[in-house]
């Protein structure tokens, strides 16, 4: 009987662990870029996974020179080997490509969409004359950090470069250009120089936190090359500044949370309040303006809470998926008796002010009396 129950338990447990059989399709990234060399052999492995069944195939203009070794065609996660043997020459300059593609096997009715993921092998045959390309990379940073745009130049022509220009444009989420500059360089780059890297610091003052898009264009004689990148300044978009530490036990009481946006664009914000792990209040959603402050107001029923300390958790939600949390304690206290107005006593400040006012009046009276008596005389 025990064994049977254990078996049933295992079956139930495993059924909970069952995951969907389709995830799209994935591959460990392996983008290869090489210069052409006669009879060069490239031997690479690619691990595809995700879908329960997929095919792997080759495509592109280098396909006639390539061979695919697939240990389990049509199966699930596996590593395939690709052997690309280049010929003694390729008939045109520029980029040639071999695609190693994984395509999910799906049987759909009507209009069905099938995902495919592709790893490319790029082979570059040098151009005659000037030919270069640029790659732009800008990292995500926090607000107090320095932002640097990294440029990588490949001279793919058979002539050296002695000077080149790069224009850099940065746009914000509203597609407004917030920075634009042309950089001029006098730098010797030999023919077939690969991966020449350098950086320029960007003046982020006034940009604020947000997501940005950058576009770099390289200018050399008779051609241009462009590259894009996206980056983010600032990561936490919202701060919880203040909230009550005590609540009086007198029924439904307001609970006000002060928040501040650290983001350049409007955020939808609302908060959830938990006491001892149980949600006791949710605030309405408000729109918080760029770097704005706001107060989220909700109400908590304290009548069911005994006097004493409780664990308090405030979760403020913003944007589509963001949230910040604050954990603390909150004390439920006896309601304070109605305040009785105390008689006002004279204190030193009031006496001092009164004395000064009196002195000023005395001086003014004296001046007036003295002036009048002098005039009479």
């Amino acid at each position: 009987m025990k064994r049977f129950l254990l078996f049933v338990f295992l079956i139930i447990s495993l059924s909970f662990l069952t995951i969907p059989d389709t995830f799209g399709i994935s591959v460990y990234s392996n983008v290869i870029k090489k210069d052409f060399k006669p009879n060069l052999v490239i031997n690479e492995t690619y691990t595809f996974f995700g879908a329960s069944n997929f095919t792997v195939f080759l495509d592109g203009d280098l396909k006639p020179y390539a061979k695919l070794i697939d240990p389990n065609p049509g199966g699930g996660k596996r590593t395939v080997r690709v052997i690309l043997t280049l010929p003694s020459e390729l008939p045109r300059p520029g980029t040639w490509v071999l695609y190693v593609a994984g395509s999910e096997i799906r049987e759909g009715g009507g209009m069905s969409f099938v995902p495919q993921i592709v790893e490319p092998i790029y082979i570059f045959v040098p151009y005659t004359g000037y030919y270069a390309s640029i790659a732009l990379n800008i990292p995500d940073i926090e607000l107090n950090e320095t932002l640097k745009a990294k440029f990588t130049i490949d001279n793919r022509g058979d002539k050296p470069l002695d000077q080149f220009n790069i224009s850099l444009e940065v746009r914000d989420e509203m597609n407004e250009t917030i920075f634009s500059k042309l950089y001029r360089y006098h730098q010797h780059l030999n023919a077939s120089t690969r991966g020449y890297e350098f950086s320029e610091e960007l003046p982020i003052e006034g940009w604020g936190a947000g997501r940005f898009f950058a576009n770099a264009t390289l200018y050399i004689p008779n051609m241009t090359s462009t590259s894009h990148d996206m980056f983010k300044i600032g990561s936490k978009k919202l701060d919880i500044l203040n909230y009550p530490k005590q609540l009086e036990k007198k029924g439904i009481v307001p609970f006000i949370i002060s928040v501040k946006a650290n983001w350049k664009y409007e955020l939808d914000v609302h908060a959830e309040v938990k006491i001892d792990g149980e949600t006791v209040a949710v605030s309405p959603t408000i729109q918080l303006h760029s770097f704005g402050h706001a107060k989220l107001k909700c109400f908590i029923d304290t009548s069911n809470l005994e006097l004493g300390n409780y664990e308090l958790k405030i979760i403020a939600y913003y944007g589509e998926k963001g949230k910040v949390e604050k954990t603390s304690t909150i004390e439920i206290v006896e309601p304070k008796p109605a305040a009785v107005e105390q008689p006002k006593h004279l204190n030193t400040t009031i006496v001092l002010i009164a004395a000064l006012v009196a002195l000023a009046i005395v001086i003014m009276v004296f001046v007036v009396v003295y002036t009048l008596s002098k005039n009479r005389k």
């Binding site: 799209g24 995700g50 009507g110 969409f113 993921i117 592709v118 990148d229």
Partner: protein, 246 residues
């Protein structure tokens, strides 16, 4: 034998402790300097090589179309030919997931059966999502055109169009030429680039997906051999890994 006094015992104890501690310290300091192999218990070789944990994090290129969202199903219906219908039924869906725009001709103007309305409750746009840590170039290729998929006897009014847009604003960093992005284009069997640079999920999990809509114009003189059977069209969404930069 004379009895040893407590003072002598205490002195001996102190000497023993000093010798023990001193010997331990000298051993520990000298043991590293031994130049010949000896059983010392000390790790041999370059000490800096020991005690390290190496973790290699792989970049992954990944494209995801949820299996509940990989089909646009217009349902079953027929073309209601009237004086006003133009002898066809037009239906479309576009927009972003959960916020779609739907259209179909009314029954008097061509669409009958599910096509008159009920298909809307089941249909959604297709969501193509970059769930990897690299940027992706995304393109689309259909295996059939309108004349294959919705073949008419003679009218030639059949139509099959697709629509692409950000599912989450800011997902595609480099949109294609006009006429493809946020517009209907007539489907051919050629490959069409939808987005040169689809944002990686490592940079933004909320801005990394494209929505694809579809429009069909079903002719009143749909060929008899294809009636009463489900019409299928397969559309490959191909994502080429672009690595860390666009």
């Amino acid at each position: 034998m004379a009895e040893v006094s407590n003072r002598v015992l205490a002195a001996l104890l102190i000497v023993a402790i000093v010798v023990s501690l001193g010997g331990t310290m000298i051993s520990l300091s000298k043991i590293k300097q031994l130049s010949y192999p000896v059983l010392s218990g000390l790790a041999t070789g370059d000490l800096e090589k020991y005690g390290l944990v190496n973790i290699t994090v792989e970049s992954v290129a990944a494209l995801y179309i949820a299996d509940t969202r990989d089909t646009i199903d217009f349902g079953t219906g027929h073309v209601n030919i009237t004086d006003f219908s133009g002898n066809n039924c037009t239906m479309y869906i576009n927009g972003s997931y959960g916020n779609e725009d739907y259209y179909n001709d009314t029954k008097d103007y061509g669409c009958a059966g599910d096509w008159a309305d009920t298909w809307k409750s089941k249909a959604h746009v297709i969501v193509v999502e970059n769930v990897g840590s690299t940027y992706l170039n995304v393109s689309l290729q259909s295996n059939e055109t309108a004349s294959d998929f919705l073949e008419s006897v003679s009218s030639g009014v059949e139509g099959f169009y697709l629509w692409a847009q950000d599912n989450e604003t800011g997902s595609c960093a480099d949109t294609p030429e006009s006429g493809i992005w946020q517009d209907w284009w007539s489907v051919t069997t050629s490959k069409i680039e939808l987005c040169d640079c689809l944002n990686q999920s490592a940079k933004s999990t909320s801005k990394n997906s494209i929505a694809i809509g579809a429009k069909v114009v079903i002719p009143g003189d749909f060929v008899a051999s294809k009636r009463s059977s489900e019409q299928k069209v397969r559309i490959n969404i191909t994502a080429v890994d672009k690595g860390d930069t666009c």
